[in-house]
């Protein structure tokens, strides 16, 4: 097997949002880093499918590590997003009570938010609720507003973290699966599908496979029990129908089904919460999707006027306990970051800061830290529907994908970027090409032409003779 020819300080296993944030953090601390991702691009697993909300943490368990990481992540995202050209849409959120029992639960939600330091959360009257959301179904009894909830781009944010790391010397490999880990005197020898690599520290961010990676050398301290969430994406015209993120009153088992605008101008409805064994398979199901539509319609009757643009399902790396499962093993040069469920997108930067603290407290002397004298910031392509996009600028090469207004220049730029995608899914997430209402009716042939032989698995299987 060809060697990966790497000898590094830190290997981060898994290019999900948490892995991307840790890769950035340790690179900026001054470590020589390597990110290993089994898929053809970052975000190939759990992180590719979420509700793309930057949460305040108003409803997280008070005093938990999850809350701490969410709030630190939230603050850091707000602090860095402009430097990276990452979008932010301030929608706010609203918990709506539809029956008496739910109405009685609202003061408790406000109290918990205040306990969590989110002091602007407040009860609103039914009248104010309908002033804010005139298209909501009749019959709502009351609500709670959370002004600080935002919608963000769930894909370009982690890509920005990775890009910044690469700009400071971080290395990465896609389509690279870790198959074996072997302890050495001063670190680890990892065997991957692309060769071997020696490292002083391993940070396991393998998401739905986290316990299996830990299990390669010890009895894991947690067991992944994937929880599936199905979502529906509605046509952009639907975005006029709501303003805030519309949340139900949570139950002990689930946060429930929400309605939310996306940064790309759509509306999403979901997720479901379904336990399953399979760590890879995220089916959508017609019956479940029809039930979801019915739930959505009961909140927003006009929803059914709009066609569904896309359907997707994600697997959240839940474990047998509710909390984050972060374990450090200083004797073994290993940190395991597991059980990061639906709040990972918000918490990622905060988790990275927490892991840095763990490292500084218990792992110093593993490798020298020489942070870069000056930080450089990547400028990410702007994909938000609420900001000027490339199609408005000259020299864009023309629009290739009409539903999502993706230009030829944007597609070329993805391949010419610091960290190019190595699969179609990655290209879609980075540009939004073929993500629109026609599912590629008009653009897929142009996209196949632009991709050429740059990717192995592509849209076509060959040429017509």
């Amino acid at each position: 097997m060809a060697p990966l020819n790497e000898n590094v300080d830190v290997v981060v296993i898994g290019g999900g949002v948490v892995g991307c944030a840790l890769f950035r953090r340790f690179t900026l601390m001054g470590a020589r880093t390597l990110l290993l991702e089994k898929g053809g691009d970052i975000l190939s697993g759990a992180s590719k499918a979420n509700s793309a909300i930057l949460h305040t943490g108003f409803d997280a368990p008070t005093g938990s590590l999850e809350l701490q990481c969410m709030q630190a992540g939230y603050r850091e995202y707000l602090a860095v997003h402009q430097q990276m050209n990452l979008p932010l849409l301030k929608t706010g959120a609203m918990v709506v009570a539809w029956d008496q029992a739910q109405l009685e639960a609202l003061p408790g939600i406000v109290q918990q938010a205040h306990d969590n330091g989110v002091s602007d959360v407040a009860l609103i009257s039914t009248q104010e609720l309908y002033q804010r959301e005139p298209n909501l179904a009749a019959g709502a009894l009351g609500g709670v507003v959370i002004p600080g909830e935002y919608v963000i781009d769930p894909w370009s944010a982690p890509l920005a973290y990775v890009t910044q790391a690469v700009m400071h010397g971080g290395a990465w490999q896609f389509n690279c699966e870790v198959r074996e880990v072997q302890a050495e005197e001063n670190g680890w020898l990892l065997t991957t599908s692309k060769g071997r690599v020696r490292t002083r520290l391993v940070i396991n961010c393998a998401g739905n496979h986290g316990d299996l990676i830990d299990g390669m050398w010890r009895t894991p301290e947690y067991e992944i029990r994937p929880r599936k969430g199905q979502f529906l994406v509605y046509d952009k015209a639907c975005a006029t129908q709501i303003n805030a993120i519309i949340l139900p009153v949570p139950t002990p088992t689930t946060k429930g089904v929400l309605l939310c605008r996306t940064i790309f101008g759509n509306v999403i409805l979901g997720p479901t919460a379904e336990e399953q064994q399979d760590r890879n398979r995220a089916d959508v199901d017609e019956t479940v999707m029809r039930e979801l539509i019915e739930k959505g319609r009961r909140m927003l009757p006009t929803l059914t006027n709009y066609p569904v643009t896309a359907t997707y399902a994600g697997l959240r790396p839940a474990t047998e306990k509710k909390e984050y499962r972060i374990y450090d093993y200083p004797e073994n040069n290993w940190i395991s970051v597991g059980g990061i469920r639906s709040t990972g997108l918000t918490a990622a930067l905060g988790i990275a800061a927490h892991v840095e603290t763990l490292y500084r407290n218990r792992f110093t002397q593993r490798f020298p830290l020489h942070p870069p004298a000056e930080l450089r910031w990547p400028q990410m392509p702007m994909l938000s529907d609420y900001q000027p996009r490339d199609y408005t600028c000259p020299g864009n090469g023309g629009i290739v994908c009409h539903c999502e207004l993706v230009t030829r220049r944007e597609l070329e730029a993805a391949f010419d970027s610091a960290v190019p995608p190595e699969c179609i899914g990655g290209l879609r997430r980075r540009t939004r090409v073929m993500m629109g209402r026609c599912n590629g009716f008009f653009c897929s042939n142009h996209v196949a032409d632009i991709i050429g032989d740059r990717l192995d698995n592509t849209l076509v299987v060959g040429k017509v003779k």
């Binding site: 959508v284 066609p307 590629g440 698995n457 849209l459």
Partner: protein, 404 residues
């Protein structure tokens, strides 16, 4: 560049090109056509079957030849800006467009919207399963094969039994690919009964009354699971899946504009002259009644083009509008409002679609008064014309109801 035009046409497919031709014949100068594809001609460019041309050139032609012919009737007379996308419609005939030059604003006295149709793809149909590569529409298939000479799969399954579904078999055959099967929810083919015989002659299994229960495959389609008409669960190996038909108008621009439209579909409100709620805007072609034949759209485009030319000459007379109301068996009517004014034609043709099979009388009523009655045999997705409806006695209080 002159950003002001008497008429701008959005979409240089059959309807748009025909409207342009009618404007040219009426002596209107300096009309601009906007086309988002690299070449004018619309969907027929990638339809290589001889179902075009009879009404326009009195002989059958393949779609690409026909598209070239109707394009030639315009391109020497008017500018066609290709690779140009309209991104918004604004009151009074103001357009925002995007191209390699970036954003521009254009103005016109009249704007004709001829944006055509697309098929309903996998996601909008809420099909169960995974989301691998190799799931496409018949339109995408035609473009891969005819415009790019690329094969999207080696053993595809076709979903649907409309005319376009059988055209997909033909398209595949021209690329040396045999479809594994054709599968549809309906027990009878939507196209015509003999069409399944054609599929079988081409070596394609036909499963009617079948429901897809799962798409399998992580990177690329590996198989589909379906429940057949007898209720049996079956699995069929394939490497691609082609969703055909269930055409829907390209209403994207209208839904986000100031123009009145049907809330549940996005179809504009327009009268028998194609005129929308803002009199600067006209709608024509398949966008208003998915999906008629190319020639039919061309003929309609000529008609609407003449109306637009007239509207540029004449001051609008006082008129009133009468809504068209549908019995539940009907899905759409084109037009969906009727304009009545002095000098307007007394005879109206309505183009309707049904939601389900109907064989029997169709009546058009002005309240209690019968304006039209005739027996029709109606199938979903097919054009049904109600011709010669007498609208001379309509008043401002009238309402037209189409019923059975």
């Amino acid at each position: 560049m002159n950003a002001r035009y008497p008429v701008i046409i959005i979409g240089a497919g059959p309807a748009g090109l025909a409207a342009a031709r009618a404007l040219f014949d009426a002596g209107v100068k300096n009309v601009l056509l906007l086309e988002r594809e690299a070449e004018a001609g619309g969907v027929p460019r990638h339809c290589r079957h001889p179902t075009f041309g009879i009404q326009t050139f009195y002989r059958p032609m393949n779609g690409d030849r026909w598209a070239a012919r109707i394009r030639q009737r315009i391109e020497h007379h008017y500018e066609i800006r290709t690779n140009t996308t309209v991104v918004s419609l604004n009151p009074g005939g103001v357009l925002e467009i995007s191209s390699d030059r970036g954003l521009e604003t254009l103005y016109a006295e009249r704007i004709i919207i001829a944006t055509g149709v697309r098929e309903t793809p996998r996601h909008a149909r809420l099909v169960s399963g995974l989301r691998p590569q190799g799931v496409l529409t018949a339109g995408a298939l035609q473009q891969f094969i005819y415009l790019r000479k690329l094969k999207p799969g080696n053993c595809p399954v076709i979903v649907g039994s409309e005319l376009v579904s059988f055209s997909a078999i033909w398209t595949l055959r021209n690329a040396g690919i045999r479809a594994v099967a054709l599968i549809d929810e309906n027990l009878r083919p939507t196209a015509f009964k003999l069409s399944t015989l054609y599929a079988r002659l081409m070596g394609v299994e036909v499963h009617l009354g079948a429901h897809i229960t799962r798409i399998n495959g992580t990177e690329r389609v590996e198989s589909i699971a379906f429940r057949d008409a007898a209720g049996q669960e079956r699995v069929m190996a394939c490497d691609s899946l082609i969703f055909t038909g269930r055409f829907t108008g390209e209403y994207t621009l209208i839904r986000t504009s100031h123009l009145l439209h049907e809330a549940d579909s996005g179809r504009p409100i327009f009268d028998q002259y194609g005129c929308c709620s803002d009199p600067a805007y006209y709608a024509v072609g398949n966008m208003t009644h998915p999906a008629d034949m190319g020639d039919q759209c061309y003929q309609e485009g000529l008609r609407i083009g003449r109306f637009v030319a007239e509207s540029l000459r004449a001051e609008a007379s006082t008129s009133f509008q009468v809504p068209v109301i549908l019995h539940e068996v009907f899905k759409i009517a084109a037009p969906n409002v009727v304009r009545c004014d002095t000098g307007s034609q007394a005879s109206l043709t309505l183009n309707v679609r049904v939601n389900r099979y109907h064989h029997g009388e169709i009546r058009v009523m002005d309240r209690q008064k019968i304006l039209y009655r005739k027996r029709h045999r109606c199938l979903p997705e097919r054009r049904i014309l109600l011709r010669g409806i007498d609208i001379s006695a309509l008043t401002a209080d009238s309402q037209l109801t189409i019923t059975i």
